[in-house]
Symmetry: C2
Subunit: 286 residues, 2 copies
């Protein structure tokens, strides 16, 4: 088992709104420390599945019942539902409780929570665990999914230090490592390392015609793995982070053009150097 | 063990020129059927490594010594060296022997062999096993690498049926499955499913700045795996198949622009449909 910090005395009951792959994994990771985890799903069958999978101790189809008495509420829904759920959770929580989320975009979520519910916003520290999969559902959740993974915290400028410290202690308890930045910086960086690569994966999956499909190798298969992800979830991410994604698509198109020129003008040394630089950057992450 | 065909009576001795990841795996796969495999490398140390890895029964630093008396010569060098090696191999071979290769491009290799050595060309059936890795070297070779993988044969129009049949029987003996097409069709299809995806992988590896590197997730990691491949090998592939790659880069740039428009005009239904179509194409290969 991954070495976890000692559980903070104040962290006893956590509610997870949306117990899918990521929400379920957060629940499982916390239960390792003896935290009591409560799940919320709209459907009774999903509540049962979350309990059966060991992701939560108990499940409710009512948000108020799920949140009552909790020290932390984690919103693990698609990004376009997070602000509304944060607002609803805020109504059932003690004022000291923390609200956090797992959304893949941050600026719009932070703004929406503030706009819909200033009260909930004062308890909210936005977060994004860099952990996921093209798979979905609590049946693919794992208690070790977050171990050693980065969780990006994007607190508002005016967030009290005490709340930020609670958010840090909470996320460390899942086994993850912490990085902090502004919501805007998060969205720009994630457009580069996640959102645009995802769209490129879908694009590469679309290019081969039927007759070329039997010819795909392990390279194409790896590059298109994430194209199997949930279209609804990714469409919402693209809407939320549209400006940053558009700007990174433009950058990608420029780089593609520059690569095209290297190839077209038959400049082997320049192409070779480019491939070597890319390999060096990749190998530095291995 | 993968079910292999019965070894043809005529297939007893095979020479492999270039015993790296792919050449070594071809050797290992054939040795399962009791074929005697001879390796050629320029360096004595590479010959020893190939023998030690179990990829070949014996190794030579002299092409003539390596090829003499063989029924099949497999050229497993970078694509820009294949035609010259085919020509040299032809000088040491009996006229009934088969010359084949593992190059990732086909039209230029077929044309070069014909131009450098019409005699070798009459014994040559070009081939491309869709098996490989970002890893290199005989130490990463495996006797099962080709099992169930597609090997694309691109015989010239005037190749005798008897020679084509030998090439088919030979490649089936490695555990692979066969597909046949023209060299030009091969190069177009492979530009789409392999060469351009490889360049896009290198491009995605180059995009994040140093501060974004700790934020990369499993999606980026999978999509950039092949960017670790050998730059020398890939630069040669890009030179060889430049026209088809340029045309597929143009197609990719068009698709990127069309995706950009879907995002920019805030058309969630159209983006959603596009993501669903890409997912369906990907999931059909799972």
């Amino acid at each position: 088992m991954h070495p976890l910090p000692e559980k903070p005395a104040w962290l006893n009951r956590v509610s997870i709104l949306g117990v899918g792959l990521l929400g379920g994994s957060v629940g499982m990771s916390l239960r390792r420390s003896g935290v009591h985890v409560v799940g919320y799903s709209r459907r009774e069958s999903s509540c049962r599945a979350a309990v059966d999978a060991g992701a939560v101790d108990e499940g409710y189809t009512d948000i108020e019942a799920a949140c009552r008495g909790s020290d932390v509420v984690v919103i693990a829904s698609p990004v376009d539902k997070i602000a509304q759920l944060a607002s609803q959770a805020g109504e059932s929580l003690a004022r000291h409780a923390l609200i956090t989320d797992v959304g893949s975009t941050k600026a719009r979520i932070v703004a929406e929570v503030e706009s819909i519910s200033p009260a909930a916003s004062r308890q909210f520290i936005a977060a994004h665990p860099i952990a996921g999969s093209e798979k979905t559902g609590v049946e693919n959740a794992s208690e070790t999914l977050l171990d050693g993974k980065a969780v990006i915290l994007t607190p508002r400028d005016d967030a009290p230090n005490e709340l930020i410290d609670r958010a840090k202690a909470f996320w460390l308890q899942t086994g993850s490592q912490l990085v902090s930045m502004t919501p805007a910086e998060h969205d720009e960086r994630l457009a580069t390392v996640s959102h645009v690569p995802h769209l490129v994966s879908s694009l590469l999956a679309s290019l081969p015609d039927d007759e070329s499909m039997p010819l795909v190798g392990s390279g194409w298969k790896d590059m298109t793995r994430v194209a199997s992800g949930d279209p609804l979830m990714w469409a919402a991410i693209c809407q939320h982070n549209r400006e940053a994604i558009l700007s990174q698509i433009d950058r990608m198109a420029d780089e593609l053009l520059s690569l095209r020129e290297k190839l077209a003008c038959d400049d082997p040394a320049s192409l070779m150097q480019w491939l070597e630089d890319a390999k060096a950057r990749k190998d530095a992450t291995l």
